[in-house]
Amino acid sequence: MTKRPLATMAAALALMSGPAEAAGELFLYNWSDYIPPALLQKFEQDTGIKVTLDVYDSNETLLAKLQAGAAGYDVVVPSSYMVKIMIDDGLAEKIDVNQMPNFKNVGALFTDPPFDDGRAYSAPYLWGTTGFTYDSARVPGGKLDESWQSLFQPVDALKGQIAMLNDEVEVYNAGAYYVGVPKCTEDPKEAQKILDALLAQKPAVAMYQSDGTHDRMAAHEVIAHHQWNGASHRTREKLATAVYVYPREGLTFWQDNLVVPKGAPHLDNAKTFINWMMAPENIAEASNFTGYMNAIEGADKFMDEALIKDPAVAMPAQYADRLRPDQDCSPAARELRNKVWTKLKK
């Protein structure tokens, strides 16, 4: 730390300026469109702490910013595998979430995740799955098989009417589930299988796009869309015939978490915020806004009826064994993945 005289000085100054300064502010760095502004106002009313929101579009953007030392954030929202990287690289502050008063509300499935033993560093935010959605009014027979094959070997009516996410990890993982190889494979032959499947699918793909997926479905631009389940719920709000598919080969299940980066300027406020977000009535607002499930018991009482009844959001129990947790791959596996992505788009 001696190499960072400026940071040390800043920290010392922050200490000297005392609690008056610390009472007022919180810098939240979150995914875009991922928390309702009204909820932040409610937090300010409850606690007197004013939240400043900044947004990012991928875990890697977050990581790059934290690695570059551009801190100044009090709370960030990494996905599970990124939590592990942050802990391993010493980028996360140990805040003992499991000792917080509202931790008792966390659902049993989420109290001891593999990426953060016993929840010392992270609190659960929202979770979801990455499957696909189709418009049942415009597919032959009104139904597609619950399989990635429906996307990777589409019937004629769907050719050129499919959109995939423009996300290296999600597209690669979908391909891996479809051809049945581990998504973190280090074997070039297995990666080749994934590439072959993606290349064979490409002529039928209208576009790779991660933004505005629900608008695209609602505007009838495509018939099927590789999609996050919350976006699928928002699709269904505008397009009643939209159906979300949990493919039987498996689909990624991810969860995002509230974490305090090392050296956060307002540590106490960050803890206050995280505890506050684990209250059912608060996290429910985040779910209502984004269409994603939360991990807090009792939150469903405060959630919209349409959300709880949508099978895309409240997963029917029979699909539970299709979920595959996301994971961080080894550098060798990541290199293979990026090669496949580049070859797919060269």
Partner: protein, 295 residues
């Protein structure tokens, strides 16, 4: 002498900005490109390697030998191709436009320049989204043609290389019109009249008098279009549907999901080198204004 040193001060703020915000970051980037990549992204400071530059054209085989890999070269080639087509289209559209503008009375000219610059008032992202609404199946163009009975079914205009070129041409057109206009505006009409008097027909007058005089503007316009088009990021992503990468998207991916900063930096440098080369050619060729352009 005093006047001179006084003038030197004038350029100090600009020099500082260039050193602080361009040369320093560029130097940092150059350094990152020869570092080893970190396990979870970032770089390992102090550990040097040329791997990033090698992986531009080669990849390590299983036995660690280098084999040729043309993936990245193909992406560069596509970027160059699309940028070249964009430049040519811009040139074809701009020449007559700029010529027309230069021939108008002064007041009209100012109005026309104003019209050319209007697109700059809107954010690039918004303009690209507007093209999506225009081009997409069931969008304005598709719908109109179908209603007019000129096409049946979907045109599939959007999410193709055609859409990328269209978007780039639209975006960069003013960069071509304005320099050509600037050089044509100074054109001495009497030279054209003299050409006619000496028996030149319209084509000859255009080719041998007007075009040479407009050449500095044409070259400047071509560079102003070609270079930014090479690094375009938003347009290929939105209008190309993310189906084929251009250099900008490739570089972004290296800093994002690939977590390979050195390679991203090396790619950026390869692009910079090519751009500098183009500028060098321009400077050598047009160090002096072509004969006849000087008053």
């Amino acid at each position: 002498m005093r006047a001179r040193s006084g003038q030197a001060w004038l350029i100090l703020p600009a020099s500082l900005v260039i050193i602080l915000f361009m040369l320093l970051p560029l130097g940092l980037m150059a350094y990152v490109s020869i570092l080893e990549k970190g396990l979870n992204g970032g770089v390992v400071w102090g550990s040097h390697t040329t791997e990033a530059y090698l992986s531009f054209a080669f990849e390590r085989d299983l036995d660690d030998s280098l084999v040729l890999n043309t993936d990245y070269l193909q992406i560069f080639a596509r970027s160059f191709g699309l940028s070249a087509i964009t430049t040519i289209l811009c040139l074809l559209l701009s020449l007559p436009t700029a010529f027309y503008m230069a021939l108008q009375p002064e007041r009209t000219r100012n109005g026309l320049i104003f019209l050319v610059t209007i697109p700059f008032w809107t954010n690039l992202l918004v303009r690209n989204y507007a093209w999506i609404l225009l081009l997409r199946n069931g969008g304005l163009i598709d719908g109109l043609l179908r209603d007019a009975g000129l096409s049946s079914g979907s045109l599939n205009l959007l999410y193709s290389n055609t859409a990328i070129v269209l978007g780039l041409t639209y975006t960069f057109l003013p960069f071509m019109v304005l320099p050509i206009y600037a050089s044509l505006e100074k054109l001495d009409v009497r030279l054209v009249e003299a050409a006619f008097d000496l028996g030149a027909n319209r084509w000859q007058a255009l080719r041998r008098v007007v075009l040479p005089l407009a050449m500095p503007g044409i070259v400047a316009g071509c560079i102003l279009v070609f270079v930014p088009a090479l690094g375009a990021y938003v347009t290929p992503e939105l209008l190309g549907g993310g189906k084929s990468l251009m250099i900008g998207n490739l570089i972004q991916g290296q800093f994002g999901s690939a977590r390979n900063w050195p390679f991203g930096a090396a790619l950026a440098f390869a692009l910079l080198a090519i751009v500098l080369l183009a500028m060098l050619v321009y400077l050598l060729r047009f160090r002096q204004a072509p004969a006849g352009a000087a008053p």
